[in-house]
């Protein structure tokens, strides 16, 4: 944008702000949420709980604030595009929903600023920080600075359809595979008892996007004792762990057809995996909290009326006991989404007041009534939800996170591609890894990669 155009634009912007009286403030929140559609519970929470509560609170403080929710109905990546374009021109909503893993690349692009830089000292004196652990804070941080607040975090596990296990003579309540071999054996037994079924689902392929990397590849590679990056933050581009992971995929989808290969390749594949699980065609599905609490919730599209009776869960085992990441027997990985402040917001103080109100004990507790989840504040109770309570103890201590790196996004796309070329049967694990190596080196440079073979 030329300076002259920018001046014109700023002039117009100032002109419009001057029309509104100084004491009335308008704030906009945007999230990928639509009442009755995508993330309906979040939309309802904001509309019915956050906005009335916040306006009342502000009124009590003598401020007249109007908040409107912009319900974004498109896809995740479309929302990312819009936010990136808006933030690059100083436009857009004051408070925006955001996936934590995108923070580094937005920050490097100059599209986000640390919370305290946007809203000043109010941020650092917020009461909430003392209730949020460092780990939870880091979900929306980069370079040690907080850019937003996560609404919650999650873990990943194997979800289990009990009756399918029983049909293969396995006891669902005692089910806990201790190695990949045991996991595969269970799947084989179920396949034998139900030849039409696709017992095991480990996400793969390009179409599932980040769900492939998080729910699929990460859950496997961590079991080999490796991760996507090594302890120095360098991307591992060739290793026995990658080969073992790809061979696991090959066993599941190509060699033994234990999983639904088509679902990994089709555009609507992830929903097909949900359908398979709901319809009792898949017995073991690796997914995050969201799957249990929202996707399978009774009454939801892929819901199970008797979810708590029909479904249980197990931890994802390492390849061999003790061979997992950090020497663990079981592995899991966490992510987090939340809200950020628009660095160009015209009302930074009020925008922060809104963001911090959303993450107050009162507001997050109210959120539990709309959607049960692992909230980041230690003074917000985990709801009376056996799954969340149990995994809070069993899996949360084992978890790890994705690299906080602006290039991660692109590397993740290459991971998805690598898994797809294996599960489609087009490439051998060794060839797929070689292609991955070349692609990642092209993204981050050879110096930021490491080969372990």
């Amino acid at each position: 944008m030329s300076n002259r155009l920018r001046a014109l634009y700023l002039g117009l912007a100032t002109a419009t702000t001057m029309i509104t009286p100084a004491f009335a403030v308008d704030l906009t929140v945007i999230c990928r949420c639509v009442v009755g559609g995508v993330n309906s519970e979040t939309a309802t929470w904001i509309k019915d709980s956050v906005i009335p509560g916040f306006t009342a609170k502000m009124k009590a403080e003598g401020k007249d604030v109007t908040v409107s929710l912009n319900e974004f109905g498109g896809k995740d990546e479309q929302m990312t595009q819009q936010l990136a374009l808006d933030f690059s021109t100083g436009a857009g909503a004051d408070v925006a929903a955001f996936d934590g893993f995108l923070i580094p690349s937005f920050v490097e692009g100059g599209l986000l600023k640390p919370l305290d830089e946007v809203a000043g000292a109010d941020v650092n004196s917020w009461e909430g920080w003392s209730h949020i652990s460092e780990g939870a804070k880091s979900l929306m941080s980069y370079g040690g600075k907080a850019y937003g607040l996560a609404l919650g975090t999650d873990v990943r596990a194997i979800f289990v359809r009990k009756e399918l296990l029983k049909s293969a003579g396995l006891d669902p309540d005692a089910f806990q595979p201790k190695s990949w071999a045991e996991l595969l054996d269970a799947a084989r037994a179920i396949k034998k008892a139900n030849p039409d079924s696709f017992p095991l689902q480990l996400n793969a392929g390009v179409n599932m996007g980040e769900a492939t990397t998080m729910q699929g590849y990460y859950m496997a590679i961590l079991g080999t004792g490796e991760s996507v990056v090594d302890e120095n933050g360098k991307y591992i581009v060739a290793s026995q762990g990658i080969l073992d992971t790809l061979n696991l995929y090959k066993t599941i989808y190509v060699d033994e057809q234990l999983g639904d290969q088509r679902a990994q390749l089709l555009g609507d594949g992830r929903n097909r995996t949900f359908t398979n699980f709901r319809d009792g065609k898949t017995a073991l599905l690796v997914e995050g909290d969201w799957f249990f609490n929202s996707v399978m919730a009774p009454g939801a599209e892929f819901g199970l009326e008797n979810r708590d009776a029909e479904v249980t869960w197990a931890s994802m085992p390492a390849q061999e006991p003790g061979k997992g990441y950090r020497g663990q027997d079981y592995v899991t990985v966490s992510g987090g989404t939340g809200f950020v402040l628009n660095p160009a917001t015209k009302n930074p103080a009020e925008a922060w007041a809104l963001l911090s109100y959303m993450n107050s004990q009162e507001s997050l507790t109210a959120f539990q009534g709309f959607r049960e989840a692992r909230r980041i504040r230690d003074d917000v109770a985990t709801p009376n939800n056996v799954y969340l309570q149990k995994t809070q103890e069993s899996l949360l201590p084992l978890t790890t996170a994705r690299p906080n790196d602006p290039n991660y996004n692109k590397v993740s796309a290459e991971i998805q591609r690598m898994t797809e070329s294996v599960v489609s049967g087009e490439a051998s694990p060794a060839d797929a890894m070689a292609a991955y190596k070349a692609a990642v080196i092209a993204i981050v440079g050879e110096a930021n990669t490491v080969s372990k073979l």
Binding site: R6, Y9, V34, G36, G37, G73, A91, G92, N271
Partner: protein, 276 residues
């Protein structure tokens, strides 16, 4: 004229072939006749039992989607008027004046517009619109569509006008009309079928387009149907088949109506063709 036997045979063969092609074209759409009236979501063709209008009632209750239809209408009509008016004037000028380099201009613009209609140009367009403060307005969408569709509209219309003999206007001018009068009173009625083609083509393009409104609009109450239709996708991004089918039917009606109206009122035809 009486047909000879082989001619009759050929005609029957042609009719059969045309009918088969027609059926093949209709097949993918048959589903839309039934699905909106079915209570259960089916990807296959299933005759509804019982037929229900419930899906439509639910769709009518979705304010976002209903407003989307109105917004689509505003943007399409606005864009079409602008495209048709500007393209007619420009194409006429290119066809009838002796402006130097006029013969090459439509080709060059056509090629440029092919770059701009791709996704690469969405960023500059966003920057232009945002720098003049038109973000999140109908007028921005209308202007951008008009600009993008104009080169092709001019190309089609210039072909068309070139195909019309100049004698019409010439005789009017001999009778004392000014060139502008000759354009409005004599040429315009003759060009009308060509304009109609451009109107339908532009309307269909704007009506169905997702990317431009998506990039330029932010408020829910300005979004057109092409964006609003995604509110009939569930949380997980799967289409809610019954509602989507019902909304699709409503969303499709205006273009079908426009086509039927135009072909009834004006006939739907092109003229011209590049003078080789």
């Amino acid at each position: 004229m009486r047909l000879s036997f082989p001619q009759l045979l050929a005609r029957i063969g042609f009719s059969a072939l045309a009918a088969i092609i027609g059926i093949l074209f209709a097949l993918p759409l048959i589903w839309f006749i039934f699905a909106p009236f079915n209570a259960r979501a089916e990807l296959g063709i299933a005759i509804p039992d019982p037929w229900t209008l419930q899906n439509f009632l639910t769709v009518f209750g979705n304010g976002f989607a209903m407003r989307g239809l109105l917004n689509s209408l505003i943007q399409s009509v606005g864009g079409v008027i602008l495209v048709a008016a500007a393209a007619t004037l420009a194409a006429y000028a290119l066809s009838r004046s002796s402006i130097p380099g006029k013969s090459i201009v439509t080709y060059v613009l056509l090629l440029f517009s092919s770059v701009v209609s791709g996704t690469a140009a969405m960023v500059p367009i966003f920057l232009i619109v945002s720098s003049v403060g038109l973000m999140d307005t109908h007028i921005a969408v209308i202007l951008v569509f008009a600009g993008g569709l104009l080169p092709t509209a001019m190309f089609i219309l210039r072909d068309f006008i070139d195909g019309i003999p100049k004698t019409y206007e010439e005789s009017a001018m001999v009778a004392g009309a000014s060139p502008v009068q000759a354009f409005f009173d004599v040429a315009l009625p003759v060009i009308r079928p060509g304009i109609v083609v451009v109107v339908v083509w532009a309307f269909v393009n704007i009506w169905g387009s997702f990317l431009i409104p998506f990039i330029l609009l932010r408020s829910d109450d300005l979004m057109p149907s092409s964006v609003a239709i995604y509110s009939f996708y569930s949380e997980a991004g799967t289409p809610i088949v019954t509602l989507l089918a019902a909304y699709s039917l409503i969303y499709s009606l205006p273009v079908v109506a426009l086509y039927l109206f135009v072909s009834w009122k004006f006939g739907f035809r092109f003229f011209g063709g590049i003078k080789a």
